[in-house]
């Protein structure tokens, strides 16, 4: 047990001190802070950035109503009646005095018509807002031509009253579902990245120790199985530290910015009030997913002799994580699809899919529990099998690195 702790702490501390770990953590924290302050950052750069548009109104009556419309749509777009000629306007735009030049006129049906000229048309935000302002003008104009009163027009454009009501008890309301989707989406991403990143880290660690041959010294002092699990737990602890740090920073910066986010991006993602059970399930499924893939990665890592071969060896594993993630993404929109339900019981997909289902749907408690049990059993089987392969694998050197080596590694550990 003593040696177990020594290896665990050594793995944890020496990994934590590596430059790559520190840099990744700092970058991630910065990204999280940046995202939380996104609206503030955008505002900062857009400060008094009013867009001046020169307007030549050939009809003589369209300018004032359009100006009224634009005030409602976007205060920052400022219309200015231009007194000169079209050419003069174009020169002014080119010189940078105006963002663009808008030519207003009536077409032969007596409806508004416009041309927008700007230095480049890469910025689509201003013209599309002008367009929607003009669209409303045109609708009003056309309505009055066929003698529709504003009330009648209003009725025509009123959105339909369409409500969804779930009949099942405990079923999530539409609003809850949208919230859940955002949260589950983000947590799925976290699980996905974390599993891939840390499983890779384990495989790399094992392969490094093996290729530098320090492994032989290690396993002459400590049993390979102890060493393998100490390593897995050490990196697991490291992952929790990193996550805790990022979540803590994320939580505080979101809390600080909560006012500016009302109704915005973050509410859409369901961060307003986070259901505790979803977070708890996320943590459970993350940990189980981590142990599942970490064990797999450790024994795959023990089979290669050179670090260069490691990617090739763990690619099938990575593909499995990616496949699970893809199905989970698909499942976000159709969480009740039978395909999703079935695959959520396949051990290598369970961490992400069962979590997605439990977050999105109101599952009976036994379903996630079965998922957790399946994972635990798989992890145990994999650990027992993996430990045997590992024990032989770490002693094998050679250039071959196929799955045939698993058989060879098992043979090494046999007593007969």
């Amino acid at each position: 047990m003593n040696n177990f702790m020594t290896i665990l702490l050594h793995t944890y501390l020496s990994k934590m001190k590596t430059k790559s770990f520190i840099i990744t953590t700092i970058i991630t924290v910065l990204i999280v802070v940046g995202l939380a302050n996104l609206s503030g950052i955008i505002d900062f750069f857009n400060k008094d950035n009013t867009e001046k548009i020169a307007v030549i109104d050939q009809s003589g009556v369209l300018f004032t109503p359009l100006e009224e419309q634009m005030k409602v749509i976007n205060k920052d777009i400022h219309l200015e009646a231009y007194k000169g000629t079209e050419e003069g306007g174009e020169t002014a735009v080119k010189a940078g005095g105006y963002k663009g030049l808008l030519l207003l006129s009536f077409d032969n049906e007596n409806l508004p018509e416009a041309t927008y000229k700007a230095r480049s048309i890469a910025d689509s935000a201003v013209p599309s807002e002008l367009q929607s302002g003009l669209q409303q003008l045109k609708t009003q104009q056309a309505a009055s031509q066929i003698n529709l009163s504003p009330e009648e027009l209003g009725k025509l454009y009123e959105p339909i009253n369409f409500n969804q009501i779930a009949l099942e008890e405990n079923a999530k309301t539409e609003e809850e579902l949208n919230q859940a989707r955002g949260l589950v989406y983000v947590l799925l991403f976290v699980i996905y990245f974390a599993v891939i990143m840390y499983a890779n880290m384990i495989a790399m660690e094992v392969a490094t120790e093996k290729s530098s041959r320090v492994m032989e010294i290690l396993i002459s002092s400590v049993s390979p199985i102890k060493q393998m699990f100490a390593k897995i737990l050490g990196i697991g602890l490291l992952s929790l530290t990193q996550m805790a740090l990022i979540l803590l920073v994320g939580y505080y910066s979101i809390k600080q910015n909560l006012d500016s986010m009302e109704g915005g991006f973050f509410e859409f993602f369901g961060f307003g009030d986070i259901p505790a059970s979803t977070i708890a399930y996320a943590l459970i499924f993350f940990l189980l997913g981590y142990f599942l893939y970490a064990t797999l990665a450790a024994f795959l890592g023990s089979l290669v002799s050179r670090i260069e071969d490691i990617q090739q060896m763990i690619t099938p594993m990575t593909m499995m994580v990616v496949a699970g993630f893809m199905i989970a993404m698909f499942g976000l929109n159709q969480p009740e699809a039978p395909f999703v339900t079935i695959t959520s019981y396949i051990p290598f997909f369970t961490p992400m899919l069962m979590f997605m289902r439990v977050g999105m749907l109101s599952l009976p408690v036994w379903e996630p529990i079965i998922g957790i049990l399946i994972l635990m059993v798989t992890i145990t089987i994999l650990a027992v099998f993996g430990a045997r392969v590992y024990r032989g694998g770490v002693l094998m050197y050679g250039k071959s690195n196929s799955f045939k080596d698993i058989k060879k590694a098992l043979q090494l550990t046999k007593n007969e």
Binding site: T6, S212, R213, I219, S220, S221, Q411, K414, N415, E416
Partner: protein, 299 residues
């Protein structure tokens, strides 16, 4: 008897790496393992260390089976250098010594003793990858001995070292042996084994072909070497009775003869022909024995 191997066999599938090996190595003895590549030396060491389980037979240290509870008593220097390339020497040694049950302060003290002794105290804070091959091997050696093991296993300890470093390591090995450490080591370099070991065994395809004390082995080998320097052509001696091998040199001839009694006849034969500047009857070198015993089946 400290280290005891009884009918140890190791099979990998169809292949038998070690076949019915029995050895007993008394305490504070220096024991040499010789064998061509693939003879089963490393596999034997791995079984002694408990990294591999024997397919048959048993290995005991003072009557007890060797497992991880005895690991603080055992030191191991693997054939290939095995150290963390990116870790500082100090951190490395402290970590590896801790795994052998040694406290940090003790291992730091021992480390500075050994680094002083090898005249490389400045290496304590360097990363292993920055060190030369010889200095890496010194660190590897320190790793194996820092916890004062009772049984020290050295797999090719002197390979790839310059003569000065070999001398330093050899001295350290001898001193440890004088202090009562039982040492088992393997080497391709016969002169090292000849110089250091009282007992040895030569392995050949998993079997022991020679086993015993150095003197006995040489005596029972029977054949002797004869070095003759003379001013005239000696090549006719190659066909003399009792000569098993002959090699011409610049100054004369080296002969291997089947027994000491053959030397007299040869001496008389050449003395009649003229002046002999050198005539020496030598014990066979271990190299001769090794080539004869371990190399025989390759021919």
């Amino acid at each position: 008897m400290a280290l005891q191997l009884e009918h140890v066999t190791k099979r990998f599938g169809q292949f038998t790496a070690v076949d019915d090996l029995s050895l007993s190595i008394p305490e504070s003895e220096m024991f040499g393992f010789l064998g061509a590549n693939g003879a089963g030396k490393t596999t034997t060491f791995r079984m002694i260390l408990g990294l591999l389980d024997p397919s048959g037979g048993k290995i005991t240290w003072n009557g007890k089976r060797i497992d991880y509870s005895t690991s603080p008593l055992i030191g191991y220097l693997p054939e290939e250098r095995g150290l963390y390339p990116k870790l500082k020497v100090k951190d490395q040694i402290v970590y590896l010594a801790k795994l052998r049950g040694m406290a940090k302060q003790d291992s730091l003290k021992e480390l500075s003793y050994w680094l002083e002794r090898f005249k490389v105290p400045e290496n304590a804070n360097k990363k292993v990858e920055e060190l030369s091959k010889g200095n890496q091997q010194k660190i590897q050696f320190i790793t194996a001995v820092i916890h004062k093991p009772k049984l020290l296993i050295l797999d090719e300890p002197f390979s790839g070292l310059d003569p000065v470093n070999v001398e330093q390591l050899k001295e350290a090995v001898l001193e440890l042996n004088d202090n009562g450490t039982t040492i088992v080591f393997s080497s391709h370099r016969m002169e090292h084994v000849e110089e250091l070991c009282e007992h040895l065994c030569i392995m050949q395809k998993g079997r022991t072909v020679v086993h015993g004390s150095l003197k006995e082995i040489k005596r029972s080998f029977g054949k002797k070497n004869l070095v003759i320097h003379a001013d005239y052509d000696l090549s006719f001696l190659a066909n003399s009775p009792g000569v098993t091998k002959a090699r011409q040199t610049a100054e004369g001839i080296h002969l291997q003869i089947s027994g000491e009694e053959m030397a007299e006849g040869i001496f008389k034969e050449i003395a009649a022909k003229g002046f002999v500047r050198k005539f020496v009857l030598e014990e066979p070198s271990l190299n001769d024995i090794f080539i004869e015993k371990a190399g025989a089946s390759y021919e």
